[in-house]
């Protein structure tokens, strides 16, 4: 077999696995970018050893350029599982990528010792190992990113479930306290659950409270007006309450016409109006 960079790398990994592991761990431990408080020593050692072992068997196929090839699949899967657990442990992206990149230095040292006399093969081996470890590092980034996105998506759907309560204030009076930014998806869900509650409770008045809505732009205002229009189509009056001073100014600046809707500054005012529309009033006990 002719001596190539790839075969030399395979030899080195084969023969010096224990020493490489030792040097790599020292490299990882001394680097101040790795936070040792986030992971247990035993787990960490085990991950390093396992990764090196999988590397060794994958390198035997002498394919150092395409990490998507089937012989690398076990390495990729192992890296992916490490990444996912590190995302949960709170590591930063650089720390996760460093796990792979820090293997370069020990490998380079070994290669230099072994190939001191053969300059061109040494250069070839360096190029190979750099490409390989770069690809593996990028792979960890991809997995890291994906794990993050999954977390965000899960939180978004949880937020949707949390944030649309329809509250019954009195017989025939519903309140809808809106909290957080209103986008199309959320308004759709809010509208559906509100209309469903209107049917179930037979309510004549609904109070939309926007105290918890941080900003009102034209889109949010349009969503609000749609909700009001849909409730009106079903025969229910809407009152919008909880309009903060800045928001009132924004609404006027934007030229949104809320004149068709009763608006009140606080939920209490809106409730008083709703009661009087129902022919009720709150009176002292005596």
């Amino acid at each position: 077999m002719p001596l190539t960079g790839a075969s030399k790398i395979a030899d080195i990994l084969e023969q010096n696995e224990a020493e490489l592991l030792q040097e790599w761990q020292t490299e990882l431990t001394t680097s101040d970018m790795l936070r040792r408080d986030l992971i247990r020593q035993g787990e960490f050692d085990q991950q390093c050893a396992e990764f090196l072992r999988l590397m060794r068997s994958a390198v035997q196929h002498q394919n150092l350029t395409d990490v998507q090839a089937p012989e690398w699949s076990s390495v990729r899967q192992f890296l992916a599982s490490i990444c996912r657990s590190r995302v949960q442990q709170g590591f930063t992206p650089s720390e996760v990528a460093l796990f792979v990149f820090s293997l370069k230095k020990p490998l380079f040292t070994r290669l230099r010792q072994a190939l001191l006399q053969q300059g061109d093969i040494f250069a070839e081996a360096i190029a190979d190992i750099t490409t390989l470890l770069d690809h593996l590092g990028l792979w960890t980034m991809e997995v890291y990113q994906k794990a993050r996105e999954e977390t965000i998506q899960r939180q978004q759907s949880e937020l949707l479930e949390l944030s649309t309560p329809v509250v019954k204030l009195w017989d025939g009076i519903l309140a809808l306290p809106m909290i957080g930014t209103l986008d199309s998806t959320r308004t759709q869900i809010v509208m559906e659950s509100l209309l469903q509650q209107i049917v179930e409770t037979g309510s004549q008045v609904v109070i939309l409270d926007i105290t918890g809505v941080p900003t009102v732009d034209t889109l949010v205002a349009q969503h609000l007006l749609k909700t009001v229009a849909a409730a009106r189509l079903m025969g229910t009056d809407c009152i919008i309450s909880g309009i903060r001073p800045q928001i009132a100014q924004t609404i006027v600046h934007l030229g949104v016409d809320l004149s068709a809707v009763i608006t009140k500054a606080t939920l209490a005012d809106a409730f008083a109006i709703a009661l009087s529309q129902q022919g009720l009033k709150v009176a002292p006990k005596s």
Partner: protein, 130 residues
């Protein structure tokens, strides 16, 4: 030809739509209703659409037209019992039926009609809190 029955109840006309509305049926209803208002001198029209699952833009417009025509003939129109899905569809279509009065159910609609022509609520009305 298929027709939607129009019932007379005192001074009001009562229409309950219980079949799928298609365009021709809607136009027939508009004609019939206009004729009946003139013939009976009714003061109010109550249209119950609670069993209507689908309302397209044309039906929406016909409902608006009926209301406007009735207004000219001095009769108030109330549309009652619209389903949530129908309401959302109409709003998304940009039809908010301005000018059409709405109520949750037939009871509330009747009370609204009686109030609008200045009648006291009927004896059998169970509105108002007990």
């Amino acid at each position: 030809m298929e027709r939607i029955p129009i019932l007379k109840m005192g001074q009001f006309l009562l229409v309950t739509i219980q079949v799928d509305m298609h365009d021709r049926l809607a136009l027939t209803l508009q004609d019939d209703l206009t004729n009946r208002i003139v013939k009976t001198g009714a003061r109010g029209v109550l249209i119950d659409i609670s069993s209507l699952e689908i309302v397209d833009s044309f039906i929406g417009r016909v409902l608006g037209n009926i209301s406007t025509v009735a207004q000219i003939l001095d009769a108030q129109t109330v549309v009652v019992g619209m389903q949530p899905a129908v309401a959302i569809t109409l709003v998304e279509l940009g039809l908010s039926l301005t000018g059409v009065r709405t109520a949750l159910n037939v009871d509330a609609g009747m009370a609204l009609l009686q109030h609008s022509i200045g009648l006291p609520p009927g004896e059998n009305s169970d509105h108002g809190q007990s």
